[in-house]
């Protein structure tokens, strides 16, 4: 009986020591894990918006971090889910580093109206982020948060002024179309080419031109497009179609009536 009691006593003591040592070293290790997110990069095409967020983890603790699962759900201001993306890292050993990129892709396949909405109107995205990991292969840990991210439209308040005509010769005139917009995007500048096509009231294309754009973030563009047009087709009204090919996005036609 005495031996049994002694064995139980030792087992209890050893287990207490193990728990205390594990708890203390776990807290110490957790305090030595550094995590940070880099500057997000955005890319917009006619099919999707891609936001890449660099993720850095430095595990200077005493235990491994395993099964790291980062999930980001993006919702629009109406709370409808636009995208859910996951980055999985099987293991960051103790003393190891991780540099990866978390890509959030939002499909715009259900119509170009959504893309146009994001190109021309400021909005708010709601990010639902969660990070799960296994600490020391035995303690699951999850941190999650909800945050609103303002979306700045790169072509905010895009508009044209009064179309005017300059005399060139007997058969051709120069249509002058004033164009203005504000690049509200904090992520990218609008640099590329803007193609402008002008149609008359009969829907006939009677002139087009290409203009270079270079509008940095948070700055305005006020310019004009000159198009040589056939005088015989000018009706005084119609539509102007804009196509954008920039390093960050491709969009068009954006149709604006004139006259």
């Amino acid at each position: 009986m005495r031996y049994a009691v002694r064995a139980l006593g030792w087992a209890t003591k050893i287990l207490w020591i193990l728990i205390i040592v594990f708890s203390v070293t776990s807290v110490y290790s957790a305090m030595n894990v550094r995590m940070s997110l880099g500057q997000p990069q955005a890319f917009v095409s006619s099919e999707f918006i891609l936001i890449s967020v660099p993720l850095f983890v430095n595990n200077a603790g005493l235990y491994d971090l395993s099964e790291i699962n980062m999930t980001v759900a993006v919702m629009d201001y109406q709370q409808s889910v636009l995208s859910t993306s996951t980055t999985f890292v099987p293991l960051i050993p103790r003393g190891g580093n991780l540099e990866t990129t978390h890509n959030v892709s939002m499909s715009l396949e259900d119509g170009t109206s959504k893309l146009l909405d994001y190109l021309f109107n400021d909005s708010v995205f709601i990010l639902d982020m969660s990070l799960k990991l296994n600490f020391a292969h035995s303690v699951p840990f999850r941190v999650s948060t909800n945050m609103s991210v303002p979306w700045g439209a790169p072509l905010y308040n895009f508009s044209i002024g009064q179309v005017s005509y300059n005399f060139l010769n007997l058969t051709h005139q120069e249509a002058i179309i004033p164009v203005s917009f504000e690049n509200h995007s904090p992520y990218f500048s609008v640099d590329g080419v803007m193609r402008v096509e002008i149609f008359n009231d009969n829907g006939e294309l009677f002139g087009f031109s290409m203009s270079d754009l270079n509008v940095p973030s948070h700055s305005s563009y006020i310019g004009q497009t000159e198009i040589a047009v056939d005088v015989s087709r000018v009706t005084g009204g119609g539509e102007v179609h804009f196509y954008f090919e920039t390093s960050a996005f491709s969009a068009g036609p954006v149709v604006i009536p004139y006259g």
């Binding site: 009691v5 139980l8 207490w16 728990i19 708890s23 303690v139 699951p140 840990f141 941190v143 999650s144």
Partner: protein, 152 residues
């Protein structure tokens, strides 16, 4: 002379017990003290921690002192079992059954933190059960030894 003879066994019997109880109290109080100092900056996230821990520490120490003063009797083991039970219940309560869920406000956003400490809680419960088992075995041993002494 008679008074002196009565005082001596009393002192011999209780002074070591008082010293032992005092030492055990100090040793037991130290982890609680350091834990409180460590937790203090994060007190707002654990508002329930301080009152619960104070109550637990008080109950645990009462059982500890009672165990010391009743050593040599069956009650020593009864208090030992009570101590292990209190530790077990406190651990389950404080660790919320193993799932610790906190809401921490950071820069205007609320961050939910969930830590699954089931493994650690399971080990603590196991230790407490071992402690209860040990005390029960010791109590049986104590009773049987006493019975043998009486027969002799």
């Amino acid at each position: 002379m008679v008074e002196k003879k009565q005082t001596k066994p009393f002192a011999r019997k209780f002074v070591p017990k008082i010293i032992k109880a005092a030492l055990l109290l100090i040793i037991t109080y130290l982890p609680f003290y350091f834990l409180s100092v460590f937790i203090e900056p994060y007190q707002s996230f654990f508002p329930w921690y301080a009152p619960t821990t104070d109550l637990f520490a008080a109950v645990f120490m009462i059982f500890l002192v009672a165990g010391v003063f009743t050593s040599g009797t069956i009650y020593q083991y009864v208090f030992g079992v009570a101590r292990a039970l209190v530790t077990m219940i406190f651990s389950i309560y404080v660790l919320n059954g193993g799932i610790v869920d906190l809401v921490v406000p950071i820069e205007g956003a609320s961050v939910n933190i969930m830590v699954d400490l089931t493994v650690i809680l399971a080990m603590i419960v196991l230790i407490c059960l071992l402690g209860i088992g040990k005390n029960v075995v010791q109590a049986i041993d104590f009773v049987s030894t006493k019975g043998e002494d009486k027969e002799l």
